[in-house]
Amino acid sequence: MTTAARTTTDTGLLLPVPDTDGAPFWEFAARGELRVQACADCRTPRFPPRPCCPHCQSFDATWQQLPGSGHIWSYVVPHPPLLPAYTDLSPYNVVLVEPTGATGIRLPGNVVAAPDAPLDSVDPSCLYIGAPVTVVFAALAPGVVVPRWQLAEAKP
């Protein structure tokens, strides 16, 4: 089985299935960099990535580094029925993080206790909208790295 055809981890968690527009995000993530697509002409960042800029229609893009910090915009705690690998980790959390200074980008992710800790490693009762978080990178499979988040401080 080739790396390109691989769609799950050994335990069955889904791996990202990049398309042409999204591939650079995952290539940067594999190097430990959090970057989003931005227009090379009008400089407006955009997420998810797409072929051209909705503001000025330019097809030229760069990949802009995001700060490694942000706050939770919203989150959910899924319970079964789920895919089997996720059922084993339920209840876990899925968050949307708004990176500092990047309003509207809202990256999906998980809050974990450590970079390679499992999805259920943080008590969901510690999460709240507005909670500050910092990015970490988790290697899910050879060459496949996803950004995740750690709480920056305890709930006040």
Binding site: L14, P16, P48, W73, P78, L96, I105
Partner: protein
């Protein structure tokens, strides 16, 4: 002269199969039964059908349906995408086709074995590009998870509570208990049962989620000048709209300026622009309810209250008979059947015929909506 769809067509027939968690017959058979029932209701022979409209997710295609029911030569057929967002658009497309002379008798339908068949989100091979890449690896797997994300933000932003979502679930369940055809007929819902039920995706619990149903429904449209000759009292399509807002992202609508301002706002603008009446004149509403949390968002979008006021609007029995806006009077997707919202259309027709099992006295206008949270559609019906 500006072309218009206003009152140019009417729904003259509705039909449905039983609804259940599991029906033995295949989807194709159910589709044929629903369509033939709708044609019989209208008193129109199948050989006169020349227009078809359904969902892109519909598995029984026009060829299979037309040759089975004995349709005539079809001159219009159309499919609308985005699941339950397309429900009302099927009627809208037929209305446009009939008004512009492309067809004379149109049939819209949806047949689905979602109760006994597979859950679409379990298919991890044929994934939509955005969820596959940006959300599914993190375990945001199901529509319930995707909408729960917006629901929590909505509750946080506007002070909505689980009690508000309960009021939506309760209104639908109460109406289902008046409707013998509803899957949840005979199963009352209490606040305690709601508050202690299992989570599906916090903050949404079991009763915030629609049913999983096998069933099929259909309706028949003709031009307004022919409608009075049909068997039943015609229900006119007063206005219709589709809506794909600028910078909308589908059910994962997290990346626009204001994710709590969904497609219903765009549909509403188009709908009210075309209509002779406004939100205050709507007698009864059938609002898409795959999840309870979609209802407050829709109430705001369609202008029944201000932004952020959708949850509070549900208080004081507003959604119950005699309230400000009786809601989903057959039980809706939450408690009658979840067939991608087509049962909301047929219930809208029954209300304006005066034949609902939870009839709003004298109802003359009804709003029907497709799925909020995805590219959507809506109808204003009048008697």
């Amino acid at each position: 002269m500006t072309a218009t769809l206003k009152d140019t067509t009417a729904i003259v027939g509705i039909g449905q199969t039983p609804f259940a968690r599991r029906l033995p017959e295949p989807e194709k058979t159910l589709a044929c039964r629903a369509v033939l029932a709708a044609l019989d209701d209208a008193g129109i022979p199948p050989s006169e059908v020349d227009g078809f409209a359904s969902y892109t997710m519909e598995e029984t295609d026009e060829v299979e349906l037309a040759k089975a029911i004995g349709a005539g030569d079809a001159t219009f057929f159309s499919r609308v995408g985005y699941g339950g967002g397309g429900s009302c658009a099927t009627v809208a497309h037929l209305a446009a086709a009939i008004t512009t002379g492309q067809a004379t008798v149109g049939v819209a339908w949806r047949s689905r074995k979602r109760g006994s068949g597979p859950r679409p989100w379990r298919d991890t091979v044929h994934q939509l590009p955005t969820p596959a890449q940006w959300t599914r690896p993190y375990g945001l797997l199901r529509p319930a998870d995707e909408i729960a994300m917006l629901a929590r933000r909505y509750m946080h932003t506007f002070g909505a509570t689980r009690d508000h979502l309960f009021l939506v679930a309760l209104a639908c369940r109460n109406r289902a208990n008046q409707n013998p055809a509803a899957v949840m007929h005979g199963c009352p819902l209490t606040r305690e049962a709601y508050m202690t039920s299992r989570w599906i995706s916090e903050p949404l619990c079991l009763f915030d989620n629609c049913l999983e149903t096998d069933g099929a429904l259909a309706c028949v449209l003709v031009a307004a000048d022919r409608a009075p000759d049909c068997r039943r009292r015609p229900v006119y399509v007063h206005a219709a709209a589709q809506a794909l807002p600028a910078q909308h992202h589908g059910m994962v609508n997290y990346w626009c300026d204001d994710p709590l301002r969904g497609p219903s706002w765009t549909a509403a603008r188009q709908l009210w622009k075309a209509a002779d009446f406004g939100p205050a004149d709507v007698d009864v509403a059938q609002i898409y309810d795959a999840f309870t949390a979609l209802v407050p968002l829709s109430l705001e979008g369609y202008g029944f209250c201000g932004r952020g006021e959708g949850a509070a609007f549900c208080e004081d029995g507003a959604l119950e008979p005699g309230g400000r806006l009786p809601l989903n009077t057959s039980g809706g997707g939450l408690s009658e059947a979840y067939v991608h919202g087509f049962n909301l259309i047929t219930e809208g027709v029954r209300q304006l015929r005066g034949t609902s099992t939870a009839q709003v006295p004298g109802a003359a206008t009804c709003l029907v909506t497709g799925g909020e949270g995805v590219p959507t559609s809506a109808l204003l019906l009048r008697s």
